[in-house]
Symmetry: C2
Amino acid sequence: MRALTVEPRRAASARVEEVDAPVPGPGDVLVEGRLVGVCGTDREIADGAYGAPPDGRHRLVLGHEAVGRAVSAPDGTGISPGDLVVPIVRRPDPVPCASCAAGEWDMCRNGLYTEHGIKGVDGFAAELFTVAADHAVVAPEALGDLAVLVEPASIVAKAWAQVDHMAERASWRPQVALVTGAGPVGLLAALLARQRGLETHVLDVVTAGPKPGLVADLGATYHTGAVTDACPAPDVVVECTGVGAVVLDAIAHNPPGGIVCLTGLSSGARTVELDAAALNRRLVLENDVVFGTVNANHRHYLAAIQALGVADAGWLGRLITRRLPLAEWEAAFRSGTDDVKVVIDVAA
Amino acid sequence: MRALTVEPRRAASARVEEVDAPVPGPGDVLVEGRLVGVCGTDREIADGAYGAPPDGRHRLVLGHEAVGRAVSAPDGTGISPGDLVVPIVRRPDPVPCASCAAGEWDMCRNGLYTEHGIKGVDGFAAELFTVAADHAVVAPEALGDLAVLVEPASIVAKAWAQVDHMAERASWRPQVALVTGAGPVGLLAALLARQRGLETHVLDVVTAGPKPGLVADLGATYHTGAVTDACPAPDVVVECTGVGAVVLDAIAHNPPGGIVCLTGLSSGARTVELDAAALNRRLVLENDVVFGTVNANHRHYLAAIQALGVADAGWLGRLITRRLPLAEWEAAFRSGTDDVKVVIDVAA
């Protein structure tokens, strides 16, 4: 079968090649691949900057945002042949930490997890893949190909679940949200903010392309410029750029009791001069919260399916700005100016 | 009656003087002053760096950590003449914000609160003071003069309540705590950490004086040096120094899922060079939480009384390293090398 593989930590090593079809172990679902989404982590791995192959191998099947159709599944798993299946990216180490043992592999404490298509286990950019049945969720038929958005939506479902928990430390509830960055994660974070009934502002750098319209059609407000111009007093900031200056601006410019949720990652170093004492004073005197969140566990995938299920399908469809066959994976990995989410059709 | 007063924002204006005895309004408790504790905020106000007098006046009665005995109290308040009374520092604005309206004035969102002895209302360094009955708590007789520690203990009771809430975002529970700074707040934070059964480490700069022994007698470990030397993997850091470099070290050196609770304040600017992108990556990839906490509300005063009530009275007594009569307030305001908490006996 065909798969998109890479030798992690070696630039320009990615290619589509014929590999052996995976053999499902006990407890595994065999899935016919349909779509995989491309994200910054995939590009980093293809660039040789990140990733690890399975033990004893040099190459890794790429792809971790995926949807496919079950070919076979063990009895009693609730998964039947033909079901639309979304695999879960992270798997706990066989000797799990306290978080992983409790099913919260997204909160792993020892870093020994593996991640399909990223670290130690094959991904889903293949005509067939296997995944443990307890690490797969069934998406409703109505979602169809949009189920490729479940994985990025699971990231923001976790982020908002954590924000909701943080907010409960006080008696009042957030009413105004600022999302920094209008990529797929930022736009999905804005969708969930609107679903929570929040006045929502989204900040990005582009003035053209689909992003301003996508934000407007959520009933949110699109901004460019500085964090402080976008929204002077957000109760919650969901930071999706990872850019150091934006992160610090978000922390320094919220109202008392503000919550800053960090989800973005940027590579490289970015040294800034910072008055650490002043930043500390602000956090203390305003009871501010800053926290990071990464990955998602089983319940966040279910929450993501729920959130996508009640969203406007037309709007979700517009997030997928390009869809390319597997053979054209290189074009898919090049970011276009007007791209939100690019997906690869592994069956085409 | 005698009171320690100051003209806020004017250095060297503090003095003990004769002032009119306060007249309790409806709902007020009249209290005979007993002890007031001196903290960094009092010193800042005496130095002219902070504070505000009541409307229409130039001078403010100082003192916000206090214990006294009720002289009179309105019926139905649960306070009787002779009761040991601890007044609550912060009062909501008459037009309260959402937090203040819910009794969480410690989480005030508009900054319009007042604070006895600090901002807009007289403090408690006086032979008599009044306080609203719903802003006073009765301490058990067994606590006696140690009830002067209720206010600083309320700060750490709130801090730990917030830490406990943050910890509940994950399935595991913290087991190792690092407290940075062994002043009164740090030592009380360590006391509450031990009461929670946590392995507790305390970091300070001094090697002599009472602090190492106070920490050891809690069953905690005393450290000097760098944050990373003190405790390489604290699940929780309660930061009580406000020193920028310590704050950043605490944030940068905890294990995945670490919680850093900021309680300390330092004055002035402290510019550092910081790789903001790397700090952000760490927070995101490790699901770390950093939050600030200030002040305390009614339930935290009750929690403080509870925590002090089950602590060793001898240990608590050693926190009070000097006790001076009101006339010697200037000596009390000068920090001694071996001081933990200095208190002023307003009746002596």
